[in-house]
Amino acid sequence: MFHNRTEALLLALPAAAFAAIVFLVPVVVLLSESFRSPAGWSLAAYWTFFSEPLNQAVFWRTLKLGLQVTAVSAVIGYAAAFAIVSLPPGSKGRMVGLIMLPLMISPVARTYAWIVILGRTGIVNQALHGLGLTDAPLRILFSETAIFIGLLQLFLPLMIISLISALENLPRDVVPAARVLGANWLQIFWKVILPLTREGLVIGGTLVFTGSLTAYITPAILGGSKVLMLETLLYQRVTVANDFVSASVIALILVVMSFATNLLLKRIATARART
């Protein structure tokens, strides 16, 4: 441990100054623009933004999809995490690697594949037609469903990894103990496993939720210009309508949501460190 404060500041300053100047200042100015109006500071821009039905729809859709993806990834995540933690160490490591691998591939590539699968002449439609279940191809692409699937695939690994970590930290023997005391598997999950893995669930949940809220590529590719989410709406407002005010309103909403969930995450982390 060294004690020279000047030295310390000199070492840390370049990074902090860089981040502040390049990143913090421009972003703060952008966000503040949403409060600007000819009459000084006001919330007028927000009123205008939310009074438009399209914007409302986009806002609620973004929230809704975020929650849906989080909920479904939690259910699937627990199932997958259970399966993985009960594997022998070698297979377990390989499985975890396999789950993490998609995270290394560009989201463009990962989302793009869904076009091939969900398109009119895609695999799903081919299969449905082949099985005689449909006559005309179903329109799955460019819908909320398509975005949901794309986002789920993108963020599921994060949830699974969080839950694996939580399950591995379960106190020894609590599951067999509950079993011997008469609990069936549903009761064990609800009364023992869920409460004890709550933190992992919240960590995974915030990662998935924030990711879904602030996704661009997936809604862009799978939603197109018809089914917009907050970020694709932002892009559209700027490039099509030069509407920087709307853009800054959206930007602030996104930052607040992202910030709030991250704050929650920090709270959990410090609460855990205290016990």
């Binding site: 020894r172 023997d173 103990a177 509950a178 011997v180």
Partner: protein, 340 residues
């Protein structure tokens, strides 16, 4: 004993993947008995216990409890209690809720529930701790909560995994007394697993010595202690000087022990250190080490046929290291071994 075959294991075979942990085990335990499964790690005692609890399915054989075949009954419907070595208390629940967990699952609510829990806690002396959470309790207290949690379910059989191993000497005595009290009061059939012969000898009505997935010897503590049937059991209960008998001679490994006395027709002899007579006898050795142990003095002698451990009263004259000592191994004091 009211029902000597209250719990029976018939030809029980248990596997972990490719390894056979327990093979063809036959055991009958009576109602109200306190039985110890004793053996080194890997002998299959814990595996057997988990099979009785239903946490492990047998590959062959049957388990019967109180007349019913429970071999295929799920672990949560067996009316068997298990106190884990790690106690396995639920850290997110209070002591009160921990003890009430199983009762709540059975549908107990309100005053009926509360009374049962409080009775359970009082019986282990922890009524005042009902509102605490497990991490706030000491190890001994946690164990008693685990015990109460199992006992309030009024199990037909109570299993305990190494109940005294984690405790220091003083707590060990307390818990031993506690278990005996519980057994006397409720008459529950108790089976505990241990690697410590002192624990087994102190607590059990009967000891089952296990090795390599099979039973080596079953008997009352006195039997096990004084009349071990094999070298393995003898070694386990503290016989230090164990010899085999071949071609009418006493062998310590590959060396002959020149005892002039006539040998009984058994497979081997085991002598406790205290049975060795120092100072006179047909055998000779050099004192390699001597240590004072309070009431006794412990000696290690180097002899032509290997080391001999002996023990003498501390009041007797000391045999110094390096000194030559005559000694005897009186056959009458030896435990005859039926097998090697």
């Amino acid at each position: 004993m009211s029902d000597p075959t209250y719990l029976t294991l018939e030809g029980l075979t248990l596997r972990y993947g490719d390894t056979v942990a327990v093979e063809g085990l036959d055991l009958a335990i009576g109602k109200g008995e306190l039985v110890a499964l004793l053996g080194p790690s890997g002998c299959g005692k814990t595996t057997t216990m988990r099979a009785i609890a239903g946490l492990l399915a047998p590959s062959a054989g049957a388990i019967r409890l109180d007349g019913a075949d429970i071999t295929r009954v799920a672990a949560n419907r067996r009316q068997v209690g298990l106190v884990f070595q790690s106690y396995a208390l639920f850290p997110h629940l209070t002591v009160f809720d921990n003890v009430g967990f199983g009762l709540r699952l059975k549908g107990l609510r309100g005053t009926a529930l509360r009374d049962k829990i409080e009775a359970g806690l009082t019986s282990v002396g922890l009524a005042a701790y009902a509102g605490r959470k497990p991490p706030e309790l000491s190890g001994g207290q946690q164990q008693r909560v685990a015990l109460a949690r199992s006992m309030v379910m009024e199990p037909k059989v109570l299993l305990l995994d190494e109940p005294l191993s984690n405790l220091d000497a003083r707590l060990r005595l307390d818990m031993r007394t506690e278990l005996q009290r519980v057994q006397a009061q409720t008459g529950v059939t108790m089976i505990f697993v241990t690697h410590d012969q002192a624990e087994a000898l102190a607590l059990a009505d009967r000891i089952v010595v296990m090795r390599g997935g099979r039973i080596e010897q079953i008997g009352a503590p006195e039997d096990i202690y004084n009349r071990p049937v094999s070298r393995f059991v003898a070694d386990f209960v503290g016989f230090e000087n164990i010899f085999s008998i071949r071609d009418g001679k006493l062998w310590a490994g590959e060396a002959v022990v020149p005892l002039p006395a006539a040998l009984p027709a058994v497979a081997g002899l085991a002598f406790r250190p205290r049975s060795v007579v120092l100072g006179a006898g047909p055998l000779n050795g050099v004192v390699r080490g001597a240590s004072f142990a309070g009431g006794t003095r412990e000696y290690v002698l180097d002899t032509p046929f290997g080391p001999i451990k002996a023990e003498a009263d501390a009041g007797l004259p000391v045999h110094e290291p390096g000194a030559n000592v005559a000694f005897d191994l009186p056959i009458g004091q030896a435990a005859p071994l039926k097998a090697d």
